[in-house]
Each structure stands twice: as structure tokens, then as C-alpha cells.
């Protein structure tokens, strides 16, 4: 019983991280119609930057949350630069844009290897969330519960942003019908930059708050990108609810699969995706992909 309970909490925690990662992926996909293959790299870059800020640069050590915020901002700016200076040069040519993001992901991966080396970095749990909570016989690290809390707060904030603000309405209009949105005076190309930066920032934030659990290592990008893909294919692109449900489902399958079928965990992870592709290619909450 305890085993299942712990596994469930771990699944939800991982689902929360995946939601932070895939919400941006899904929005970028919904708006720009491209899978951003640098998304795993942005996650890893956020984790590396955050870890470095915590360890200290130029003798300045940072508090975990300050480091997370700074890493998020740096990577968000990097995302904006990618969109403005590379993807913008290939308007309307989605295959080429995907290939550029793929090429960039190799550059980033090798850059990280060059700067931080091949050894994994561990990230210390923030002081506020060390320790454990007991529920009967089961013991949960506070940090995992904290991640669930943070992910929930961000999910609500994102929902409010998309559903209640003018910017959110503009993004939704751009996702639904970019041409019509342009006609009514929304600068869709500017939205591209904003959404790309937002998605990059969310991925980086997920990377750093995932750091104490996953640690930071070369190849982290290649581990996370397929998960984001599965979430978005499952949930449907451009839908916040879709990436939320998809993340939780994938979080459960990933953790239970690894505990019960370690050799085939990866395969089990992709099974629901295949089922969705066969029976509902647009994803659970999405509209048909072009």
C-alpha cells in the first residue's frame, strides 16, 4: 500500500514537472505550428544555469528561488533570440523551422558538454523544503510535495493569463486562426516571440526545479524532449487542459512503468501515444494537426 502511495505521489510530481515543460511546447506548437525540438535543450540549459547560479558565479552565491528566476529569465531571452533571429528568417516554412530547432538542439547539447563537462551536477534542495512529511506509514519528501504546489500555482496562473487577459485572448486568437487575427490588427509575429520566450522560460524553470530530483547531466535534453512530445501528442496541441491531462497520464505511466517493467518502461510510455494516434490523431483535447 505504501509502495503504491509513494509511487502515486512521485507520478504526480513528475507530471507537474512535465506540465511546466509541455505547456510551453504545446503553446508554441499551437501558435507557430512547429514542434520546438530545442525544448529539451532549454530545459537542460535552465537546469545548468540554475545549478551554476546556486553554486555561485564570481563568488556570488544565490538562493535557490532567485537562481531559478534568473535562469528562467536568461533562457526566456535566449528563446526570444532564437525566434527573432533564426525562425523569423524562415516565415511559413515549417519543415525548415523544425530542422533549425533540431540543429540548435545539437549545438546547445554540445555547448553544455563543453562548458559543464560530462559529470552530473547535483542541485541542493532549497532550505525551505527539506525534510519529510508522514502520512501513516508512508514518508514523502517535502520537496516533491512542493513541486506539486508550484506546478499547480503556475498552471492556474497560465490559465488566468490565457483565459482572462488581453494578451491571452490574443494568443488564443492566434492559435485558432492566425490569418483572421492579423486582419483584426493583432501582431501575430510579435506573439510568436512572446510565446516562444514564455515557453522557453517555463521549460527552464521546470529544469531548475526538477534539478534536486533529476540532477543535471548531459543527455537530459534527449530524455525530456520525447516526454514533451508524448504529452502533446496525447493531449493535443495548443490546449492547456490537454497538456495538463497528458502530463499527469505520462507521469503515472513513466513512474509505474519504471517500477514494474524496467526493461520496457520506455516502450510502455509510448503505447498510449500510439493508441491515441490510431484512434484520435488530433490528441485527446486537440483539433486535427495539419
Amino acid at each position: 500500500m505504501t509502495f503504491w502511495l509513494v509511487l502515486t505521489v512521485n507520478s504526480v510530481t513528475f507530471g507537474g514537472l512535465l506540465f511546466l515543460l509541455s505547456a510551453g511546447f504545446s503553446l508554441i506548437f499551437g501558435l507557430m505550428r512547429i514542434p520546438n525540438l530545442t525544448h529539451g535543450s532549454l530545459f537542460m540549459l535552465g537546469a545548468y544555469f540554475g545549478a551554476t547560479f546556486i553554486i555561485g558565479v564570481f563568488g556570488v552565491k544565490m538562493n535557490f528561488w532567485l537562481a531559478a528566476l534568473l535562469a528562467t529569465l536568461v533562457v526566456a531571452a535566449f528563446g526570444a533570440v532564437i525566434e527573432r533571429f533564426l525562425l523569423r528568417r524562415l516565415p511559413g516554412d515549417q519543415s525548415a523551422q523544425v530542422l533549425v530547432t533540431l540543429g540548435l538542439s545539437f549545438i546547445v547539447a554540445d555547448f553544455c558538454l563543453m562548458v559543464w563537462g560530462g559529470d552530473p551536477l547535483s542541485v541542493e534542495t532549497p532550505a525551505l523544503l527539506t525534510g519529510f512529511t508522514r502520512f501513516g506509514a508512508a514518508v514523502f519528501p517535502n520537496y516533491r510535495l512542493g513541486i506539486i504546489g508550484v506546478a499547480t500555482v503556475i498552471a492556474i496562473a497560465l490559465w488566468l493569463l490565457l483565459d482572462r487577459t488581453r494578451l491571452g485572448a490574443m494568443i488564443r486568437a492566434g492559435v485558432d486562426d492566425p490569418d483572421m487575427a492579423r486582419v483584426v490588427g493583432i501582431r501575430v509575429s510579435q506573439l510568436f516571440t512572446i510565446v516562444f520566450a514564455l515557453g522557453a522560460g517555463l521549460a527552464a524553470f521546470a529544469g531548475i526545479i526538477g534539478g534536486p530530483i533529476l540532477s543535471v547531466y548531459p543527455g537530459l535534453d534527449q530524455d525530456m524532449l520525447p516526454l514533451a512530445l508524448v504529452v502533446v501528442i496525447l493531449g493535443g496541441s495548443g490546449s492547456l487542459l490537454g497538456s495538463f491531462v497528458g502530463s499527469i497520464v505520462v507521469g503515472f505511466i513513466y513512474n509505474f512503468g519504471q517500477a514494474l517493467l524496467p526493461e520496457l518502461a520506455y516502450f510502455v510510455l509510448f503505447l498510449p501515444m500510439l493508441l491515441v494516434l490510431i484512434f484520435r490523431p488530433q490528441g485527446l483535447f486537440g483539433r486535427p494537426m495539419s
Binding site: P35, L229, P262, L277
Partner: protein, 338 residues
């Protein structure tokens, strides 16, 4: 006028192809050192792989990011069957059949979508295959991979010799080029290009767009599998690295760098990537960085690829030259009038 020009281009092309053919056939005699003969073998089997991918990417307009997974299936199948005691002939035949069956499944799943959807699904399928190779340790040996201890001796030619291996690869390469050339000129090839450019119109004309794409996938998978057999006998070792996304991206780079939807583009691309990889990795470790940078540069600066790109520059150069000469010829007799 235009007939004469086409004829001139055809003559030029014929001369170029004959020179290339003679150079390839005599390569072990003028190329010094076994190392370079081996690099040439690598170029040739990667070219077969790239030719296979080009059928989808170039002629079908379907960008597959999971082809290294298919490549890996056949390579693993050969290695595994040999390791459990099958003979070479049977192992290769069975591996090709396994490769084709898996390609059929791969195609059936990924052709649920086209365009970006196709890219995403093939990427995910490629990642599954990588994950299986990496984690299904009882079958694949995990990170340790599988060794292939012996090379076969078809018709009494011992493939352990670098030169013999080169010639075997060359024969298969030439057959593949001829096969793709025939395919491109066939009604099937024309239909595939039709589904790339005008899928709806092709559908309205009564073509079964899905089936055309499916058979194109199988043809692509066959060439991929053949290349994989050559690869696994060449390296005598297979590990998950072969099926990774990097490997898929490398072969896609060969196609895109050389020129998609051209016959010789993938061959030039394979030569470029293999040479850069072998030469550069001798000096620096940062091959992936360079791979990414070349990728981004080619997509942004020369999206049509090197072969058409250089051909375009060559044509423009000639036209500019002729115009200058023509302008001089016009200007000269005009002067006395003034």
C-alpha cells in the same frame, strides 16, 4: 536553341558521370592507404541510406526523423541472428524481412499524418526504437551493444579485405542509384511527386495517395535496411548510438545538404558528412556542435542543398559571362554609328 542547351547539359552530365564512375571503380588503386578506402566504403553505404531517405524527404515531401531507428532494427537483427548461431545468408535475409515488416508498421503509424505531424510521429517512433535498444538489455545488450565476429565471403570473395568490402559496397551502391533513377522516372515516382506537390488534386484524379506514400516508405525502408546490413558488417558492432536521434539527423543532413529530390544530392551529402565527420573528429571532439551549425546554416542559407545550389550559381555565372560577352559584341558594332 533550348534543345541544343539541354543537349549540352546532358553531354556535360554524361562526361561527369563517366568520370565519377571510373574514379569510383579504380579508387583502391589511386587512393593511398586502407584508411581512405574504408572511409570511401562508409561514404558509399551512407549514400545508400541517404538515397533511401531521400525518396521520402525529397520525392515524397515527408521528413522522417526516425530513420536511424529502422536502420538500427535491421543492423540489430543481423547482429542478433548471427550471435544466436544463424548463417550469414539466412541472417541477412531474415534481417531484411524484419526491417521491411517494421518499416511497414512504422509507415502505417506515421502516415496517419503528413507535414509536421509526420515529423513528430517519426521522431517519437525513432525515440521508442532507441529506448528499446538502450534498455531492453536481454535482447540488445544495452549500452554494450552486440559484436559481429565474422564477415561473410559471398561467392568466395573475402569481405575481410578492405578493398573487397569496398567493391561489394560499390556494386550495391551502383545498383541502388540505378534503382532510384528508374524509380524517379517511373509512373510510380511521378505519382509520388504528385502527392508531394498536390495531394488533393492527386486524390481527385483517382490516385490512392496513402498507398503511394506507403509503398514509397517501403522502398525507402528497403534501401535503409540494405545500408544497415553493410554498416553492421563494416563496423562489426552495433550499439544504441546507431539508432539515436543524432544518427537520424545526420542522415537527414546528408539529404538536405546535398539537395533533396535530386539523384546525386544525397551521395554528395553523404560524402560531405562522412568526410567532415572523419576528418574533423580527428582534431576536435565537437562534432555535434559542427553538425548542428552546418544544419542551421544550410537550412537558412542554401535550403535547396549543395548540388542544386552550386548548379544554380554555375548557371548564373555562365549567364552573367555570356551577357557581358554579348553586351560587348553589341556595343562594338554600335560605336561607328555614333
Amino acid at each position: 536553341m533550348s534543345g541544343a542547351r539541354t543537349q549540352r547539359i546532358n553531354t556535360g552530365r554524361a562526361i561527369f558521370l563517366s568520370v565519377a564512375f571510373v574514379a569510383l571503380v579504380t579508387l583502391p588503386y589511386w587512393m593511398s592507404g586502407i584508411y581512405y578506402v574504408n572511409v570511401s566504403s562508409q561514404i558509399l553505404f551512407y549514400a545508400v541510406f541517404a538515397l533511401g531517405l531521400n525518396i521520402l524527404v525529397g520525392y515524397g515531401g515527408l521528413v522522417s526523423l526516425g530513420h536511424a531507428g529502422l536502420f538500427g532494427i535491421t543492423a540489430y537483427a543481423v547482429a542478433y541472428l548471427l550471435s544466436v548461431g544463424f548463417g550469414h545468408t539466412l541472417a541477412v535475409l531474415l534481417a531484411l524481412i524484419i526491417g521491411l515488416i517494421c518499416t511497414a508498421v512504422y509507415a502505417a503509424l506515421s502516415l496517419r499524418a503528413t507535414g509536421i505531424g509526420f515529423i513528430m510521429i517519426t521522431l517519437a517512433l525513432g525515440e521508442i526504437l532507441w529506448g528499446l535498444a538502450y534498455r531492453w538489455i536481454s535482447l540488445t545488450g544495452g549500452d554494450n551493444g552486440i559484436n559481429v565476429r565474422t564477415r561473410p565471403s559471398p561467392f568466395g570473395f573475402d569481405l575481410n579485405s578492405a578493398t573487397v568490402f569496398y567493391y561489394a559496397t560499390l556494386i550495391i551502391f551502383l545498383l541502388s542509384v540505378i534503382a532510384v533513377a528508374i524509380f524517379v522516372r517511373s509512373p510510380f515516382g511521378a505519382a509520388l511527386m504528385g502527392t508531394r506537390d498536390q495531394p488533393r488534386r492527386m486524390n481527385a484524379l483517382g490516385y490512392h495517395v496513402w498507398a503511394i506514400r506507403f509503398w514509397a516508405c517501403l522502398l525507402s525502408g528497403l534501401l535503409t535496411s540494405i545500408a544497415a546490413v553493410l554498416f553492421v558488417y563494416y563496423t562489426q558492432f552495433i550499439s544504441p548510438q546507431t539508432t539515436a536521434l543524432t544518427a537520424s539527423a545526420e542522415v537527414l543532413l546528408m539529404v538536405i545538404a546535398g539537395g533533396p529530390a535530386t539523384l546525386l544530392g544525397p551521395v554528395v551529402g553523404a560524402a560531405l558528412v562522412v568526410v567532415v565527420k572523419n576528418v574533423v573528429s580527428g582534431y576536435i571532439e565537437r562534432w555535434n556542435f559542427l553538425l548542428g551549425a552546418i544544419f542551421v546554416a544550410i537550412v537558412i542559407l542554401m535550403p535547396e542543398g549543395l548540388v542544386p545550389g552550386v548548379a544554380r550559381l554555375w548557371r548564373q555565372g555562365r549567364r552573367a559571362l555570356r551577357r557581358r560577352r554579348g553586351a560587348a559584341a553589341v556595343a562594338a558594332p554600335a560605336e561607328p554609328d555614333r
